[in-house]
C-alpha cells in the first residue's frame, strides 16, 4: 500500500481552553472527491486552516504526499500543491477576474523582479502564458466573458466560481473547497457541481466541506463526518446516512420513540 495522499494523524487544536479538534485521524486517497461534513462548530474549517498553515496544530501531524506540512507557512503549503477556497469569500475585489486568477499563479511564474524590470523575454513569455491560462480557467467556470471586470462587481454566485478558478491557478494536487455552494440557488449549485465533477475528471483531488447534503452526497465518493472535533464516521454516502452516530450528531438523542422518528426524519433530510 503506497503512502496515503493526505494523512491527518492524531491532530488536535485548542483555542484558549476550548478544544476544537481532538485526535483527528483521516486518510484521503489520491483522485476523486472527498466530503467533510458535520454540524456547525464541529471543527471543519479549523481543519482546513491547519492543513493550509493558517494555524499550527497543538498535537499530531499532517502529511501530504509523504512530507509533513503541519506548521509550514501558508505560502509554502501552496507551493507543495494544496490550494483552497474560503468559507467567507476572500477575493481581491479591486482587481479584475483575470488578475485574481493570475495572483493564484504567483508561485508558478518563474521570473524574478529583475526580469520584470528588464521586461526580459522570460518575463513576457511567462506573463502572456499566464494570462492565457487564466482565461482558460475562467472558461472552466463559464466566466470568460467577464474576464476584465472587477471582482467586486460580481454576483455572489459568480464570486464563488471565481474563487474556484483562482484556487485552480496554482496547479494544486489537492483542492480544498470550504462551503463552495453556500448561499447559491439550486441552479447555480447544479452548475458548480458539474464543474467540480469535470475538475475531478481532469485528475485533481478535491476535499470539500458543505452543509447541503444533496450536494455532498451527489458529488463525493467518500465522506467523513466530524462532530465536536472528532471523526465519528467515514464511508460512502449511503453508509453515512444510516450511521447511528451521525444521526445522533445532527438530531440529538431522545427516548426510543423519538429515536425512531428521528431516524426517519434524518434519512429524509439527508436524501
Amino acid at each position: 500500500m503506497s503512502a496515503p495522499f493526505l494523512s491527518i494523524e492524531t491532530l488536535s487544536k485548542s483555542f484558549g481552553g476550548i478544544t476544537v479538534l481532538t485526535d483527528v485521524n483521516l486518510a484521503i486517497p489520491r483522485g476523486g472527491i472527498f466530503g467533510l461534513i458535520g454540524p456547525n462548530g464541529a471543527g471543519k474549517t479549523t481543519l482546513f486552516n491547519l492543513m493550509t498553515g493558517v494555524l499550527r496544530p497543538d498535537g499530531g501531524n499532517i502529511r501530504f504526499m509523504g512530507e509533513t506540512i503541519a506548521g509550514l507557512p501558508p505560502h509554502q503549503v501552496c507551493r507543495r500543491g494544496l490550494s483552497r477556497t474560503f468559507q467567507n469569500i476572500r477575493l481581491f475585489k479591486e482587481m479584475t477576474l483575470v488578475e485574481n486568477v493570475m495572483v493564484g499563479m504567483h508561485g508558478r511564474l518563474g521570473y524574478s523582479p529583475l526580469g520584470a524590470l528588464g521586461r526580459s523575454a522570460g518575463f513576457r513569455g511567462a506573463e502572456s502564458k499566464a494570462r492565457e491560462r487564466a482565461r482558460e480557467l475562467l472558461a472552466w467556470v463559464s466566466m470568460e466573458g467577464k474576464a476584465e471586470e472587477l471582482a467586486g462587481n460580481l454576483s455572489y454566485g459568480d464570486q464563488r466560481k471565481l474563487e474556484l478558478a483562482r484556487a485552480l491557478a496554482s496547479e494544486p494536487s489537492l483542492l480544498l473547497l470550504d462551503e463552495p455552494v453556500a448561499g447559491m440557488n439550486t441552479g447555480e449549485k447544479m452548475e458548480l457541481m458539474n464543474e467540480i465533477k469535470q475538475i475531478a475528471a481532469r485528475g485533481y483531488t478535491v476535499l470539500l466541506i458543505d452543509h447541503d447534503m444533496k450536494f455532498v452526497m451527489g458529488l463525493c465518493q467518500q465522506i467523513a463526518v466530524l462532530n465536536f472535533g472528532k471523526v465519528i464516521a467515514l464511508g460512502t454516502g449511503d453508509e453515512i446516512r444510516q450511521h447511528p452516530d451521525v444521526i445522533e450528531a445532527y438530531l440529538g438523542r431522545d427516548d426510543e420513540q423519538e429515536e425512531q422518528h428521528g431516524a426517519t426524519v434524518a434519512e429524509g433530510a439527508m436524501t
Partner: protein
C-alpha cells in the same frame, strides 16, 4: 532661454525640493501599498543624509560613494530592524516605527563625534545637480511602474486587500513586506542624500517627527492608489507654502489641517485613477 534661466535661478531649488519630496512620498507609498503604516522613513532619510554627508564632508570621498552609502546604509538598517518589527501589525507597527524615528534622532544628537551632535553637519559640498534628482525620480517611477505590472505588483495589491488569501496563493507575505520596507528605506535614504548635498547643512531635528508627518501627509493627500498620487501630493505640499506667500511659518499647521481634512473628507486622496476611470468610462489601470 533667458526667461527659463531666470525662472530656474529663482525657483530651481523649489523644483528640486519637490522632486526630492516626491521620492520621499513614494518611499512611504511602498509600504502603504501593501497595507502597512510605517513611520520610519524620516529616520531613514536622516540615516542616508548623514551617511552620505559624513563620507563626502568629513572624509572627502566622491559623491557617487556618498550616494551609494546613502542608499545602502538605510537599506541595511531597514533590513535589520524590519525582520522583527514587521511581524507587528497595524497600530503596533506604526508606533514601533515612530519610536524608531525618535531613537535615530536621539542617536544623532548623542553621537557628536560622528554627526556633529545637536549642531549638525555643516559645509556639505553642493554636489547635487538637477539631473540627479530628475534621474532618480524618473528611474524610480519607471521601475515601480514596471514592477506593478508583474507578479510582484499583483502580490502587493493582494497583500493589501487580504493577507490571509494572499498567503494562500503562494505569496510570501513577510518577504514581500520586508522588501517593500527595505526599498522604501533605500529611497528615503537616497532622497536624504540628494537633499543634504543641496542644503549644505543637516541637523538631527530635520529628520524627526515633523518630517515623518510631512511625508505621510504628502502620500495621503495625493492618494495611495496609483503611483502618481504621492508625486502629486508631494508637489502640492512643496508648492503650497510658496504659493501662499508668508504661509511658510504656518507650514506645520497647514500640514496638520490637511491631514485631518483629507482623512475626513477625501479619504482616497486626490489621485484616484479607478474612480476617475469609472467616471469617464473604461477600465481601471495606473
Amino acid at each position: 532661454m533667458e526667461s527659463f534661466e531666470t525662472f530656474w535661478a529663482i525657483h530651481g531649488s523649489l523644483v528640486l525640493t519637490a522632486g526630492i519630496n516626491s521620492l520621499l512620498a513614494i518611499s512611504i507609498w511602498l509600504t502603504l501599498a501593501c497595507g502597512m503604516l510605517a513611520m520610519a522613513n524620516a529616520a531613514f532619510m536622516g540615516i542616508g543624509a548623514y551617511a552620505s554627508a559624513i563620507l563626502t564632508t568629513t572624509y572627502g570621498l566622491p559623491y557617487p560613494v556618498g550616494l551609494a552609502a546613502g542608499v545602502l546604509v538605510p537599506a541595511a538598517v531597514a533590513f535589520a530592524m524590519g525582520k522583527p518589527t514587521l511581524r507587528l501589525s497595524g497600530v503596533y507597527l506604526a508606533m514601533a516605527t515612530l519610536a524608531f524615528g525618535e531613537v535615530v534622532r536621539i542617536t544623532a544628537i548623542n553621537a557628536e563625534g560622528l554627526t556633529g551632535g545637536a549642531l549638525g553637519l555643516n559645509g556639505i559640498p553642493p554636489y547635487t545637480q538637477w539631473w540627479h534628482v530628475v534621474l532618480a525620480l524618473v528611474a524610480t517611477l519607471i521601475g515601480l511602474h514596471l514592477l506593478r505590472r508583474s507578479k510582484t505588483g499583483r502580490a502587493f495589491e493582494a497583500i493589501k486587500e487580504d493577507e490571509v488569501a494572499a498567503s494562500q496563493m503562494g505569496i510570501d507575505i513577510a518577504g514581500h513586506k520586508l522588501a517593500a520596507f527595505v526599498l522604501g528605506g533605500a529611497l528615503a535614504g537616497l532622497a536624504g542624500s540628494l537633499s543634504a548635498h543641496m542644503t549644505f547643512f543637516i541637523g538631527p531635528n530635520e529628520f524627526g517627527f515633523d518630517r515623518g508627518v510631512e511625508i505621510l501627509t504628502m502620500a495621503i493627500l495625493g492618494g495611495v492608489e496609483g503611483l502618481l498620487g504621492p508625486v502629486i501630493g508631494a508637489v502640492l505640499l512643496t508648492l503650497l507654502p510658496e504659493l501662499l506667500r508668508g504661509l511658510n511659518e504656518y507650514r506645520l499647521i497647514v500640514n496638520g489641517f490637511i491631514l485631518v481634512l483629507v482623512v475626513l473628507f477625501l479619504p482616497g486622496g486626490i489621485w484616484r485613477p479607478r474612480a476617475m476611470k469609472s467616471l469617464f468610462g473604461g477600465r481601471a489601470a495606473a
